[in-house]
């Protein structure tokens, strides 16, 4: 393994959060929250993603050969699950998928016991998607394994924020080699829609401002409480989409769940009228902005097909960057024994 990668893996400091009384700490290869990453961590993940992406396929497939990765999914997912699975497989790891339905979880097995069972079966890393915020912390504490958070409740989705960052850097022609706290200075990213329930919004709002970006949250009161602006520095609320677009270099549209609107007595037509990103609005207020969407998109609701398929859209690129980022996170989680890898490289 290249010395640089080895060093990056070694220099990772434990970021055990504030759970001091319990004395618990997390495996340093975990990705639970973007707040656990230092800028150095972000840099090394981005560098690793590029390195792995550029590597010949066959060599890449040796890196995690015969390592066991479990995907533990308590919620449905297409892109995140497939992306993690393909990323693991392209590094040569064996993957196993456990979903809440069709497993002992249905019979009432706890998250702790499920994790311990997977560990006993040889899983060295667990990728977890879970409907409860904070569940990955519990799994990390109870198993001691590196846990990759693939979305927990309405909390975070760290790999999504990292892939969004990589997409933004590529689109804005910023060097992804070394990001600093000024890399995104002057860049404004507007996140539009159901901020209250969005883990993507939180992870991005906690990550992007640390590189100098400004994040604007945009949405109606019921989906965007005033407290949201206090999530961290560099975050503002701008409820008017046009005004937000005028300031934006990047606009990230979030999926709107019809059933949620109904529960909040929000009128769908009114929502579309005020917050949908359509071609006219984009052309009038932010003709150069990069358009992102974490998916799944509901065309005709938060975004129109013209925009989703148009030149500003980086939605497909997001998915591609996702695989690279997830390869990097998996490698980092399992950082193979350096000496062995070096030997392989010399051959």
């Amino acid at each position: 393994m290249p010395a640089k990668i080895k060093k990056a893996a070694k220099s990772r400091a434990a970021k055990p959060g504030s759970n001091a009384a319990g004395g618990s700490s997390y495996h340093t290869g975990s990705a639970l929250s973007v707040t656990h990453f230092t800028l150095d961590d972000v840099n090394s993940i981005l560098a690793l993603a590029s390195k792995l992406e550029a590597m010949p396929i066959q060599r890449r497939a040796q890196l995690l050969s015969k390592r066991r990765v479990a995907l533990l999914f308590y919620e449905s997912s297409t892109r995140t699950r497939t992306s993690f699975e393909l990323a693991a497989k392209s590094l040569g790891a064996d993957t196993v998928l456990v979903s809440a339905l069709s497993s002992s979880i249905e019979k009432g097995e706890s998250l702790k016991d499920t994790g311990i069972t997977l560990r006993a079966l040889g899983a060295e890393c667990i990728i977890l998607r879970h409907p409860n915020s904070g569940a990955p912390y519990l799994l990390a504490q109870t198993t001691g394994l590196p846990i990759l958070n693939a979305g927990d409740g309405t909390h975070e989705h760290p790999s999504q924020a990292l892939l969004d960052l990589r997409t933004i850097l590529a689109r804005l022609h910023k060097s992804a080699r070394t990001v600093t706290d000024r890399t995104l200075q002057g860049t404004t990213v507007t996140i539009v829609g159901d901020i209250l329930h969005s883990r993507v919004a939180r992870s991005n709002a906690l990550l992007l401002p640390r590189l100098g970006a400004k994040v604007l949250f945009c949405g109606p009161q019921a989906l965007l409480p005033a407290d949201a602006a206090e999530i961290g520095p560099g975050v503002e609320i701008e409820r008017n989409l046009e005004r937000a677009l005028q300031r934006s270099n990047v606009v990230m549209m979030l999926r709107i769940q019809r059933e949620r609107l109904a529960g909040m007595q929000l009128d769908l037509d009114e929502y579309i009228a005020r917050y949908q990103l359509d071609a006219a609005r984009l052309a009038a207020h932010a003709p150069k902005a990069v358009v992102l969407h974490p998916g799944p998109m509901i065309r005709g609701l938060e975004i129109t097909s013209e925009v989703a398929d148009g030149p500003n859209s980086a939605v497909a690129e997001q998915v591609e960057h996702g695989t690279a980022i997830r390869m990097a996170l998996l490698f980092r989680a399992l950082h193979p024994i350096a000496s062995k890898s070096r030997k392989q490289r010399k051959k």
């Binding site: 959060g17 702790k112 904070g134 407290d227």
Partner: protein
């Protein structure tokens, strides 16, 4: 019963205002005499009393906890009356008031008496608080007079607040006639569905549904209004575990206007804020939830200025497997009996300069007065021999693993606290000693 002489200690008795060196003589479960140091030696010798050297220690009335969950009947795996009262003794409590949310709910004189039976092997006195409505379902009142006769000291549907205005009004009226306070867990559960912490910027960041402060203050304000409308000077509303500035201010206004409204605050609400949740630590999950620093500061002000009448623990034991779950799925509550005095001394006495006698009053004479517990919370001659000895300035470390409670769900594990408890005497029996 043998006699006990507690010799050489510094007596603090807020009920009489005494704060001086005194020897204390206990006989037949009562305080028999107190006098200047050395003056009771002859009496002790004559009666072959056990002599306890209290030099360097404070001697105070046994503490009284208005709000505990002993989990019996029905949830013995969390706690029993025997284990919970041993935790109480270790924490300096000689009387605990047990909430009725047991299984079955304590809504009958039979259960009320069962809880006080010697068969429960309680280490300290248990005063049951009976359910205010049958099954705590909020639909039909229980029989307050009968419950009182069986030993209930108050009525409450703790954990299941009485939301219907008419039912709460009836409860206040019936309790007034019976001479019992109504203790309300003030939470508008219509606003707290699926919520697991305080509603704030932090709850947004953690992606947890929050309980708005108004869910508490709204009910407190409503209850005060009902009390005012009832206009019966026997009526007494006691607000359990106040946690917000707004609710505290409502209580303050009500007191100023002469209404019989009292309140309690828990040590965790004055010692911690929502920040203690950290990385979804379920040991910081309870209801009402830990609040903001502004709320915490307001509660401390309320304790200092007398708006708050008592410190109560809301001791709520849960088994390990119940707390070792996803934050949103874990049950509410923490244990508190063994850390209450230490936290009160640390935060109120040391950090906010509340006189020691005031701290003790909030934990003994005031809760006794509030629930009309006669001859409790006092060291006056004739009182029950409920006494604690503690070293106010001696630090000790709390280890959850060494707790006498069956459960270990506390956010204070490993905390260094002042006020090591040397001895707890309940009705003349030594129930805890670390000499």
């Amino acid at each position: 019963m043998t006699a006990i002489l507690i010799r050489g200690g510094h007596l603090i008795d807020p009920s009489t205002g005494l704060d001086e060196k005194r020897d204390l003589f206990l006989r037949d479960g009562r305080v028999a005499a107190l006098d200047l140091p050395g003056k009771l030696d002859a009496l002790a010798k004559k009666e072959h009393a056990t002599v306890i050297d209290a030099k360097g220690a404070m001697v105070a009335p046994g503490l009284i906890d208005l709000h505990v969950h002993l989990r019996e009947p029905g949830q013995n795996y969390k706690e029993t009356i025997a284990s919970g009262t041993r935790a109480a003794a270790a924490g300096g409590f000689t009387s605990v008031c047990a909430m009725p949310n047991t299984a079955p709910v304590n809504d009958s004189p039979e259960i009320t008496r069962w809880m006080q039976s010697p068969d429960r092997d309680a280490a300290v006195r248990v005063f049951p608080i009976a359910a205010a409505t049958r099954g705590s379902m909020g639909e039909a009142l229980t029989e307050y007079g009968v419950l009182k006769a069986a030993g209930a000291v108050a009525v409450s549907d703790d954990g299941k607040p009485i939301l219907h205005d008419a039912m709460m009004y009836e409860s206040l009226a019936a309790a007034a006639r019976a001479g019992l306070p109504v203790i309300q867990h003030a939470e508008d559960t219509r606003l707290t569905q699926n919520a697991s912490m305080h509603q704030s910027a932090l709850s947004f960041r953690l992606g947890l549904r929050g309980m708005p402060g108004d869910a508490e203050s709204g009910i407190v304000e409503r209850d005060i209004e009902l009390l005012q409308r009832l206009n019966d000077n026997r009526a007494h509303l006691h607000v359990a575990h106040l946690s917000t500035q707004k609710a505290l201010e409502a209580v303050r206004r009500a007191k100023r206007s002469g209404l019989h409204v009292t309140s309690e605050v828990t040590p965790h609400h004055f010692a911690l804020t929502e920040q203690a949740i950290g990385d979804y630590d379920t040991r910081a999950k309870m209801s009402p939830p830990l609040r903001s620093q502004t709320d915490r500061a307001a509660l401390i002000d309320g304790l200092l200025d007398g708006t708050v009448d008592a410190i109560a623990t809301d001791h709520a034991p849960h088994a390990i497997h119940e707390k070792e779950q996803e934050f949103e799925r874990a049950p509410n509550g923490i244990t508190g009996l063994e850390t209450a005095l230490g936290l009160s001394l640390l935060v109120l006495h040391q950090q906010h300069r509340m006189p020691l006698a005031r701290v003790i009053a909030l934990l003994s004479s005031q809760p006794a007065a509030l629930l009309h517990l006669k001859h409790r919370g006092s060291l006056a001659v004739g009182s029950f021999a409920d006494v604690i000895l503690f070293c106010a300035n001696e630090d000790w470390k709390f280890h959850a693993s060494a707790s006498k409670s069956k459960s270990k769900n506390t956010p204070f594990d490993g905390w260094k606290l002042p006020g090591r408890i040397v001895m707890t005497i309940s009705e003349g029996r030594i129930v805890h000693s670390s000499i």
